[in-house]
């Protein structure tokens, strides 16, 4: 017995090493599982406030660009608003409330982001106090940015579209063929459009937008443009489509968050009928 203890004492460093390594791997795994509760991440109050201070300084230099983009977007929205103004010589009728207020929008600022890893995340400066919930979609005027992963009181952490774990239900605008956009972890300006059958005539230059099927994003938010069409090497039934992303992820500063107010109802319906809804 004494010998065993002596032996264990002699290799204590190795035992400690194995223990710590297992702890680290456990953290990686639990952090990457979709439902895994993330206790330690940048939505932590202390870490979030540090990141916010940093972002305050860094983003000061890109204020001019951000302003310009906001002005352009305002102009576009004003243009669209004209269509909805009631003209005195016309008849209007109000839509059913179930159709009108499906999506709610909120704004936030990105205070931390990465784009060089395989699993990239964003940290936002708003949290549950401001009505941010896990699962909300994130986009900016350029296109889709990501999806909220977890929230704390004042901050939120989100999957970037540049995260191999995120799939966005999307479609080719011209032909209405739908598929899923997923990043392959290689180039931060390109992603793949998966599950497009081979008979579809896809061309370089076709626009890819969100489909509105997975109840996260409303229909029609830009994702990118198809830059390469090839038959899939692994599965001959599908096409291998490369999408050039429209969003410049190195310059994502201000974003919009969108929530589908009927998501819970849809989700429970899916569950009831045992359809797994991709996220």
């Amino acid at each position: 017995m004494l010998r065993i203890l002596q032996f264990l004492y002699r290799i204590r460093a190795f035992i400690l090493f194995v223990f710590l390594e297992v702890a680290a791997v456990w953290m990686i795994v639990s952090n990457n599982s979709p439902q895994g509760a993330a206790f330690f991440n940048s939505s932590n109050a202390l870490v979030g406030s540090v990141l916010k201070k940093q972002a305050d300084v860094v983003q000061f230099f890109s204020l001019a660009d951000a302003n310009e983009a906001l002005t352009a977007e305002n102009a576009e929205i004003l243009q669209k608003l004209q269509l909805f103004q009631v003209k005195p010589d016309s008849i209007t009728f109000t839509l059913d409330s179930a159709l009108t207020a499906t999506y709610q929008f909120k704004g936030a600022r990105v205070i931390g982001s990465s784009l060089r890893y395989s699993q990239n995340y964003l940290t936002l400066n708003k949290g549950s106090k401001h009505g941010i919930k896990p699962g909300m979609g994130i986009f900016n005027p350029e296109g889709v940015v990501g999806r909220v992963k977890s929230v704390s009181e004042n901050y939120a952490v989100a999957f970037s579209l540049l995260n191999t774990g995120l799939m966005v239900s999307s479609k080719i605008k011209s032909s209405d063929v739908f598929g899923s956009v997923q990043w392959d972890g290689k180039n931060s300006s390109e992603a793949r459009l998966l599950f497009v059958p081979r008979h579809v005539k896809a061309q370089e230059g076709d626009t890819v937008i969100t489909s509105g099927f997975n109840a996260v994003f409303p229909e029609g938010i830009l994702i990118g443009v198809i830059s390469k069409v090839a038959p899939d090497a692994k599965d001959p039934n599908y096409l291998d489509l490369t999408v050039k992303l429209n969003t410049d992820f190195s310059k994502v500063n201000y974003v919009y968050l969108v929530e589908n107010t009927q998501f819970t109802e849809l989700d429970s319906l899916y569950r009831q009928s045992e359809i797994s809804n991709e996220y």
């Binding site: 090493f17 710590l20 702890a23 680290a24 990686i28 993330a38 940093q54 990465s114 395989s118 972890g185």
Partner: protein
């Protein structure tokens, strides 16, 4: 290790940590060369330091970085591995006569050639573990090797620069 050494090491680690989190976080030269400068804090700890405290230091440092980098567990796993390999590697490359005359594996005490042969493989192993964990399941072993190689070279260059600029010189280099 006396109290003065302890304090100067603590200050060094805090300084490197702040630089790593605020300046080097989003830096990646050509998309492949990352800088893990905070490893210098682990690398230059005294040679006589036992493995157990070393493991704890590396684990907590890696964890601190992970919290800011949003890469929970990856830096921790890599840094712990680095700390475990360090005594073995130090033993393997010990100069003839052992480490009697010097206490810390720094550039000024051991010279440029030795420091490179010490730090380059260590940082390479660290990067290898880190990028393997990062790209787990997404394939691309070549990408992992590519990133690891250039990251270790870049990190070592930065580590040498920092030591030349901020460390006390003992011999003329």
């Amino acid at each position: 290790m006396n109290i003065r050494n302890l304090i100067s090491h603590l200050l060094l680690i805090i300084f490197l940590g702040v630089v790593q989190i605020f300046l080097l976080k989003n830096l990646a030269l050509f998309g492949v060369a990352f800088a893990f400068l905070y490893l210098l804090g682990i690398l230059v700890l005294p040679i006589s330091l036992r493995t157990v405290p070393l493991l704890f230091i590396a684990f907590s440092l890696g964890f601190l970085l992970d919290v800011f980098y949003e890469t929970i567990g990856m830096h921790t796993a890599a840094a712990t591995f680095l700390a475990f390999v360090r005594p073995l590697w130090l033993k393997a490359i010990s100069p003839t006569g052992g480490y009697v005359d010097s206490e810390e594996p720094t550039l000024s005490e051991m010279g440029l050639g030795w420091f490179l042969s010490y730090s380059l493989p260590m940082v390479f192993i660290y990067s290898l573990v880190f990028f393997t964990a990062d790209q787990w399941g997404t394939g691309g072993f070549f990408g992992v090797l590519n990133k690891s190689l250039f990251s270790s070279i870049f990190t070592c260059l930065l580590a040498i620069l920092v030591q030349l600029l901020f460390f006390k010189r003992r011999r003329g280099i």
